[in-house]
């Protein structure tokens, strides 16, 4: 029976230099790989390790660190029932990641969402457009330096956006032991 640990061992065996680190948390296996090896490793996962299901693609903004961004690929095998998480760091100076649409067609919309929210571009993506936010929006909303209330933007005669009035919000709970400070309230963070 194949386990996630076996797949990590196989990847370390095959790509010794490109697998930078591995991590196990609550029986979930995560490996960090070099971005340059991303297409080769993911193709190997798909073709040799039977990861036929791309569950999700997401991205993380570690603002203040270098490299700033991180791609996260959740792989699953419907044949061996193994789950593997693959991460790769992306530098802000060269925000381009190879697309995996040719491996898993479902990556199309996942990558569009990452582009929409984080501004990471995908090389050889067939249709890299925004997917959730309106087309004219000039920012990337899930970056850490984007304020919660939003920013103003304007396309004359077409559309506009304005910051939302937050009234000191968001409303967050405090210490749950103390009923007074535990009450959800605005902390004046906006």
């Amino acid at each position: 029976m194949t386990t996630a640990i076996d797949t990590v061992a196989a990847l370390k065996d095959k790509f010794a230099a490109e697998v930078l680190s591995e991590n196990e948390f609550r029986d979930e296996q995560t490996i960090l790989i070099a971005l340059s090896a991303l297409p080769a490793i993911l193709a190997y996962c798909k073709n040799e390790l039977a990861f036929d299901y791309l569950v999700d693609i997401s991205s993380v903004d570690n603002m203040g660190e270098e490299p700033r961004f991180e791609m996260v690929y959740e792989l699953y095998s419907l044949q061996t029932h193994v789950h593997l998480r693959i991460k790769a760091r992306v530098s802000e100076d060269n925000l381009e990641v190879p697309s995996v649409v040719s491996l898993w067609p479902t990556a199309d919309w996942h990558e569009r969402e990452v582009y929409d929210m984080m501004g990471i571009r995908f090389k050889n993506h067939p249709d890299l457009r925004r997917i959730l936010i309106c087309d004219f929006f000039p920012y990337f909303a899930l970056r850490k330096d984007f304020p919660l209330a939003g920013k103003p933007s304007d396309m004359p005669e077409v559309a506009f956006t304005k910051p939302a009035p937050l009234a000191g919000g968001p409303f967050v709970s405090g210490d749950p032991k103390d009923r007074v400070t535990g009450e959800p309230r605005a902390r004046g963070e906006s």
Partner: protein, 178 residues
């Protein structure tokens, strides 16, 4: 003592049509016709649309007000009921459909989101549809009960019945003459 002479009436008396004549103002007649057949454009965008559907269903009987003819073509509609959260992405379509509706037209902002953005204090949500199109009636609630929407529609009927519809319709002609 003789009875006073009957006042002269300028209208010729005709017993065949007498019972069918009504004296009123043109505005009042037009407004009466308009307000009793408001055709809604259901702009259902979120959960408020479920209550909008309930309003249109048998239990609440919206046809009491002559409003049961929900039109999914803006060209046949009189009142746009904006029911739900208007995201900036959707706002362009809402505005376009509003522009396609022929005058006279009215707008109801149904629920907290359509009125003010509601709980969505977010970069992605328009903070009230009144930033794009003029709103006649705001209905509070999250979502409003069908009774609340019917109350809003009755408020709109009151508003329609008080409009100077002839002057509004002939505005260009009046501007030309004066």
């Amino acid at each position: 003592m003789s009875a006073p002479a009957a006042a002269e009436t300028p209208v010729a008396y005709d017993s065949k049509i007498e019972g069918n004549m009504i004296f009123t103002r043109v505005d009042t007649a037009i407004n009466w016709m308009r307000k009793n057949s408001l055709w809604p454009m259901p702009m259902g965008l979120a959960c408020c649309a479920i209550e909008l559907m309930a309003t249109g269903a048998s239990r609440f009987d919206i046809s009491r007000f002559g409003m049961e003819v929900m039109r999914f073509s803006p060209r046949q509609a009189d009142v746009m009921i904006v029911a739900g959260t208007v995201t900036y992405k959707m706002a362009l379509s809402v505005k376009r459909i509003w522009d396609q509706m022929p005058e006279p037209k009215w707008c109801i902002a149904m629920g907290a989101c359509a009125s003010s953005g509601g709980m969505y204090r977010s970069y992605a949500v328009l903070q009230g549809i009144d930033q794009l199109i003029p709103v006649d009636v705001y209905v509070s609630g999250c979502p409003p009960r069908p009774e609340a929407l019917l109350e809003g529609l009755m408020k709109l009927q009151d508003k329609v019945s008080r409009e100077a519809s002839t002057v509004a319709q002939k505005k260009e002609l009046i501007d030309e003459l004066t």
